[in-house]
């Protein structure tokens, strides 16, 4: 009996103790199960975060968000008319199935990207041909110069991922087993529990020193284990308890708890992104420019941001579309931001002959800060004379309703600061919001065709001004993201899409 009890106790204690883990396993808590392991078919960040370790693109972004070569040997040789891109591929690269990378794989991958990927489709009508030039080079011919091409080829979601041509299905089909050239390959995957990435033994890194996503990608951890943890508080507690080495997307209010922990530390990702109010230009109240201007005049952005994030550690009241330090930063038109002027808004409404039609704000509590800022805005808009109707739905419903212009005037979303402004589709009349303005469109067309960085920055400043004057879409401000990592973890640069190939534990 005594023996049985001792055994039972030992078994219970063994069960209670957290499982022993290898020293070089990096446990990463992510916000949910990735929908797919093929980054070409998804624009979700959680998909990018995982898949960038396995699948590579021709180009990537360095630590300053400049385009840098990855599978391409160097930056492309662009013809004088800006229409032909000659891209040499690195030699001696193999996929994790053992096959060699060659130009046929790249051509097949890019053709699939232009056919099925949301971002690829935006460039498809401008690409005349993608052809192999020998086994280790390709040529992309464009119908007109298109400056965002390289950024699109470098982006890790809806990515121009390079796969072996043998696994690329006919038509729009899905890839059965994703194979890449990256430093890791997929190991065991138990959906909603964990996804193991293990080093790909045949990986060939670049020679240059690591610089953001560019340069040498290592294989420092023996295993990177992504653990889907949908509840933010559970991510915090797992981090603080030492169960996770890294936790993505944490609630702002957990900052102090993580800071006080002896095992983990908070990581503030400065200027992570911007909350955006997408405006319906296709139908409804906001097709009237004066009413849009009244909206902009009435909104108290500082109060909205404070309500949304609670502490100025987590936000910045900033009307510029890109924060200071970015090549795209400009103050053009910024005087129209944060006017917080109800009487001016009232005058504009009167000039517009506003008849009291409700302004419908479509939002969700999936991201609590969306809802909080909408609540504050509602008070300010009503004080200015608007009648406001809040349509608070779950994220899935919002995703569906925003496709029908008859159902909303504003929907609230957010975006990271994308390295290339043209990746924000709201600039173009073909987008969901349908913002068309001849002057702005002319500048935007010039912007995407221009290849000189300085001239592009000047054009973008004009686009920003046009946006604030015509109220195409509304940037509420800048916000910081809170991540957390174990105090013992090193080699993970702060990024909206964190990567762990150079991560080590002390």
């Amino acid at each position: 009996m005594k023996k049985t009890l001792t055994f039972a106790l030992a078994a219970a204690l063994a069960a209670i103790a957290p499982p022993a883990m290898a020293k070089d396993v990096i446990n990463v808590a992510i916000v949910g199960e990735p929908d797919t392991l093929d980054p070409m078919v998804s624009t979700k960040d959680v998909v990018s975060i995982v898949t960038q370790h396995v699948v590579e693109t021709l180009y990537t972004f360095d630590g300053s968000w400049n385009v840098a070569p990855l599978l391409a040997e160097d930056l492309p040789k662009i013809s004088d008319d800006g229409k032909t891109y000659d891209i040499k591929l690195r030699e001696g690269i193999t996929f994790s199935d053992g096959s060699k990378l060659d130009s046929a794989d790249v051509v097949a991958s890019l053709e699939r990207w232009m056919k099925i990927a949301s971002r690829g489709k935006t460039v498809a009508d401008k690409v005349t041909s993608v052809t192999a030039k020998g086994p280790n080079a390709i040529e992309i011919k464009m119908s007109a110069p298109y400056a965002p091409l390289l950024s699109l080829l470098a982006f890790s979601n809806s990515a121009a991922a390079i796969y072996p041509s043998e696994i690329i299905p006919e038509g729009d089909g899905q890839i059965d087993k994703v194979i890449g050239t990256g430093p890791y390959e997929y190991g065991e995957h138990v959906p909603d529990q964990y996804l193991q990435l293990v080093p790909f033994k045949g990986f060939v890194p670049r020679d240059e020193p690591a610089n953001g996503g560019a340069g040498k990608r290592g294989q420092a951890p023996d295993e990177i284990r992504f653990i889907p943890v949908p509840d933010p508080n559970t991510r915090v507690e797992g981090l603080v308890s030492g169960q996770f080495d890294f936790a993505d997307s944490l609630p702002a209010e957990s900052y102090d708890r993580i800071e006080q922990s002896d095992k983990a530390k908070p990581v503030l990702l400065q200027d992570f992104g911007w909350p955006v109010w997408a405006i319906n230009h296709k139908a409804g109240l906001l097709t009237d420019r004066k009413i849009r201007q009244a909206l902009l005049a009435a909104l108290p952005f500082d109060d909205m941001l404070f309500a949304a994030f609670g502490d100025d550690k987590f936000f910045k009241v900033d009307g510029a579309l890109y924060p200071e330090g970015w090549a795209w930063h400009s103050e053009e038109g910024a005087d129209l931001y944060n006017q917080n002027d109800p009487s001016r808004a009232g005058e504009l409404l009167e000039e517009a002959g506003y008849d009291g039609t409700p302004l419908r704000i479509l939002t969700s509590r999936q991201y609590e800060f969306h809802y909080k800022m909408a609540e504050v805005a509602k008070q300010a808009l009503e004080a200015a004379g608007f009648k406001v109707e809040m349509d608070v739905v779950d994220w899935a419903t919002l995703g569906q309703r925003r496709n029908d212009p008859a159902l909303w005037d504003i929907y609230i979303s957010h975006s990271p600061f994308l390295p290339e402004p043209a990746l924000t589709d709201m600039w173009f009349p073909s987008s969901r919001i349908g913002w068309a303005n001849p002057d702005k469109d002319k500048i935007a067309d010039a912007f995407v065709s221009e290849t000189d960085p300085k001239k592009r920055a000047e054009l973008f400043a004009k686009m920003q001004k046009a946006n604030l004057e015509d109220v195409g879409f509304i940037k509420v401000g800048n916000f910081n993201a809170l991540l957390g990592e174990a105090k013992s973890l090193e080699g993970v640069p702060p990024s909206p899409w964190p990567y762990f190939w150079n991560a080590t534990k002390k």
Partner: protein, 313 residues
């Protein structure tokens, strides 16, 4: 009795058909597009439309319903839109944590609540009785997610006695996995022990006032024998009923606890499925849970036969 069981099983088929139909209608009436969710925030309406066709969601709702009924009748609950695997296989994987979580919580509840319920009924009106009743009220009133968060923070994060979340990594053995369920089981057990305690106490109080208890005492039987053999046996039917109901509720209602502790059980599966609009998983989970609920109730009713020889079906 066979006729009774067959009748109940027939009733179960009718209930399952209704559950199946109501679930099918509700999930499709609810707004939200699974295709748009799968493709991500920057996908165009055209991309979502193409994926809807691929998933068969473009077909008329009656056609979808007819296909669903036919395959359900053949035991096929369809293919998950998210996992791209048969619903039954996904559910089978998620059954283990949910079943053991429910079982451990129930054991915890019974071990705590039944002895205390008996004792405080026997000591009615005393300090122990008042304390236990108040504690039960408190445990029943506090939401399980709050209890979960507090215990997770205290016992897992601060003291490190339990893993904070999850269900074991690669190669985790059975005991490893069960270790992850101890703290969530305590959380769920606390909430449910309140209900069982109050039922046990009430049932025992009824019985302890009966004439045959007085007779047993007058015959000189020990108090222990009176309470445990005569009173408890006669008070058992309501207790077994509430334990059965609690178990059924635990299987179907561990949603919040599974979410707080990130346990990949059926509760977290269905929550994820609702957020992803994975219709086949929502339907499949509800059908399986409804069937379990009915079966557990049937088993509870059959247990009466063992407890009380006077019961006949």
């Amino acid at each position: 009795m066979l006729k009774y069981v067959l009748n109940r099983l027939f009733g179960m088929v009718v209930v399952l058909f209704l559950v199946l139909t109501i679930t099918f209608v509700i999930v499709r009436v609810a707004p939200g597009d699974p295709a748009a969710l799968m493709l991500g925030p920057d996908a165009t309406p055209q991309d979502a439309a193409a994926l809807r066709i691929e998933l068969g969601l473009d077909q008329p709702i009656l056609v979808q319903y007819g296909k669903f009924l036919l395959s359900a009748a053949a035991g096929d609950l369809g293919q998950s839109l998210f996992f791209h695997r048969p619903v039954l296989s996904v559910l089978a994987e998620r059954a283990e944590p949910t079943a053991f979580l429910a079982l451990f919580s129930l054991i915890f509840s019974i071990v705590i609540a039944v002895p205390i319920g008996i004792y405080v009924a026997y000591r009615r009106g005393g300090a122990a009785d008042q304390g236990a009743v108040s504690a039960a009220m408190l445990a029943a009133s506090v939401p399980s997610f709050w209890t979960g968060l507090v215990l997770q923070r205290w016992l897992a994060s601060d003291l490190g006695w339990f893993p904070a979340s999850g269900y074991g990594g690669p190669g985790a053995g059975f005991f490893d996995r069960m270790g992850y369920l101890i703290l969530p089981s305590i959380v769920l057990g606390i909430v449910n022990s309140a209900l069982i305690l109050r039922f046990t106490r009430a049932s025992m109080l009824d019985v302890l006032g009966e004439d045959y208890i007085r007779t047993a005492r007058s015959k000189g039987m020990s108090e222990g024998r009176v309470v445990l053999r005569h009173a408890l046996k006669n008070a058992a039917i309501p207790i077994v009923t509430v334990v059965g109901l609690t178990f059924a509720l635990l299987v179907s209602g561990a949603v919040v606890t599974e979410r707080v502790f990130n346990i990949p059980g059926m509760g977290s599966l269905v929550v994820g499925a609702v957020l992803r609009r994975d219709y086949p998983i929502i339907q499949g989970t509800l059908i399986v849970v409804a069937a379990l609920y009915i079966l557990i109730n049937l088993c509870t009713d059959l247990l009466y036969l063992l407890i009380d020889k006077r019961v006949r079906y």
